[in-house]
């Protein structure tokens, strides 16, 4: 254990040294080693790429490690116990918050839905969880923090939570239980006596390392491709190019972005670097945020998976309510900033 802490401290120091000198290292590589001309657009593309890729990967590694440790304190089973017997609203708030920290994989969305509903957690509360869990995740927050700064990351988190709470609450109030597939309420779930394993701090550190391996292996390609596209746009697309299409003055840009975003399936890692340059080229924050939320939080493939347990009217209601929430957030941001 002592050795483990030693290694981690060492790695943290290396991390800090690398991260705080990225600008210098990039400048050195681009201007001294590659001897590129300072003013050409191609140089700007290469500089952007060499600087952003390691920056985002470094941030990702660090945050995913700590989030992995935090998540080891939570499990869907524990979350279900906490949510048991909670009323609407208080339940929605709690479910949304737990959605952020509970380990969640979209491939487990159905078993989790069944597990929640079967144990008597209200439909609306379950939805708050299912909306928050994919939308607000550490990868999205890291990228937002790294590329836009902490204010945007926090704004994303709070508005995402708000959408999850309000949408779940409305779905709860609408009493849509009859639009859940009939067999769902007839399930007699067996008793699962696989005990919660006792975990030491050392186990939790291992869990953090495990999640770094898993998540970085999964998303690095998206990040590299996303940043490469971003870099090209950064270098070659003229300033203010997006202003007329995705700028504040184009009132229709928010709903259109959301509509385009829903069928797109990408994780936060691929979409955020692209979104960053859209913003740089004159798109407005609200429009961009709405686009991002609809890509990450309202994806068509996930909705199709839900079709196995939900009837069409409920799916349409769900998508409309969350979509409206996202559009509202987009307009508010465009108005305020």
């Amino acid at each position: 254990m002592k050795q483990k802490i030693g290694i981690i401290t060492g790695l943290l120091i290396v991390w800090l040294a690398l991260y705080s000198n990225l600008e210098v290292i990039t400048d050195f590589l681009v201007y001294s080693v590659l001897q590129l001309e300072r003013t050409s657009p191609l140089t700007s593309v290469i500089h952007f790429f060499i600087y952003e890729v390691p920056k985002v990967l470094l941030l990702l590694t660090l945050i995913v490690f700590f989030v992995g440790i935090i998540r080891s304190y939570f499990s869907p089973e524990r979350t279900r116990t906490i949510l048991g017997g909670k009323k609407l609203f208080a339940g929605n708030v709690l479910a949304s918050l737990l959605g952020v920290v509970t380990p969640f994989c979209s491939c487990s969305a159905i078993p989790l839905f069944l597990g929640f509903v079967e144990s008597g957690i209200p439909l609306g509360v379950t939805f708050s969880f299912l909306i928050a869990a994919p939308m607000i995740n550490e990868v999205a927050l890291v990228l937002l923090f790294g590329l836009f700064g902490w204010k945007t990351a926090l704004l994303y988190m709070f508005t995402g939570l708000l959408i999850a709470i309000v949408s779940g609450y409305i779905i709860g109030r609408l009493k849509l239980e009859r639009y859940v597939e009939d067999w769902v309420y007839q399930i007699k779930a067996g008793h699962n006596d696989l005990a919660e394993e006792q975990r030491t701090l050392s186990d939790r550190i291992d869990a953090g390392i495990e999640s770094v391996k898993e998540i970085v292996a999964k998303v690095w390609v998206y990040i590299v491709v996303g940043i490469a596209i971003g870099a090209v746009v950064h270098g070659y697309v003229p300033e203010d190019f997006m202003a007329s299409i995705m700028g504040k003055s184009a009132w229709w840009s928010v709903p259109v972005s959301v509509l385009i975003g829903i069928p797109m399936y990408s994780n936060a890692a691929g979409i955020i670097p692209i979104v960053q340059v859209l913003l740089e080229k004159g798109a407005s924050l609200g429009t961009v945020l709405a686009f991002m939320m609809s890509v990450i939080g309202l994806s068509l493939p996930e909705t199709i998976i839900l079709k196995k347990v939900l009837k069409l009217p409920l799916i349409i209601t769900f998508v409309s309510i969350v979509g409206t929430g996202i559009i509202t957030v987009g307009y508010i941001f465009n108005f305020v900033f």
């Binding site: 499990s75 491939c107 487990s108 069944l114 079967e118 399930i187 779930a189 699962n192 006596d193 196995k308």
Partner: protein, 84 residues
């Protein structure tokens, strides 16, 4: 012994299935590995995280993909405890 892999067919479930088969091969266990992909059946085991590994109706793994060595250890433990 009846061995079941629970999961809707995502990448993790396939990996778990392969690793279980590999672990059994190493231990000279001959038993069919059954795949359970039906959500209703998966839910009937009371798990909320896939993939799951079930030995004779006892859940031994949920929501993670252990290594081949870890699966061997789990199998050994279950055989030793006489449940299987």
């Amino acid at each position: 012994m009846i061995i079941k892999v629970l999961g809707s067919g995502c990448a993790n479930c396939k990996t778990l299935e392969q690793r279980t088969i590999e672990a059994m091969k190493q231990m000279n266990i001959t038993a069919a590995v059954e795949k359970v992909t039906d959500y209703q059946q998966i839910a009937s085991y009371g798990i909320m995280r896939t993939p799951g590994l079930v030995l004779d109706n006892k859940i031994v793994v949920q929501g993670r993909v252990p290594t081949v060595d870890q699966i061997r250890e789990i199998l050994q433990q279950e055989i030793a405890s006489g449940i299987v």
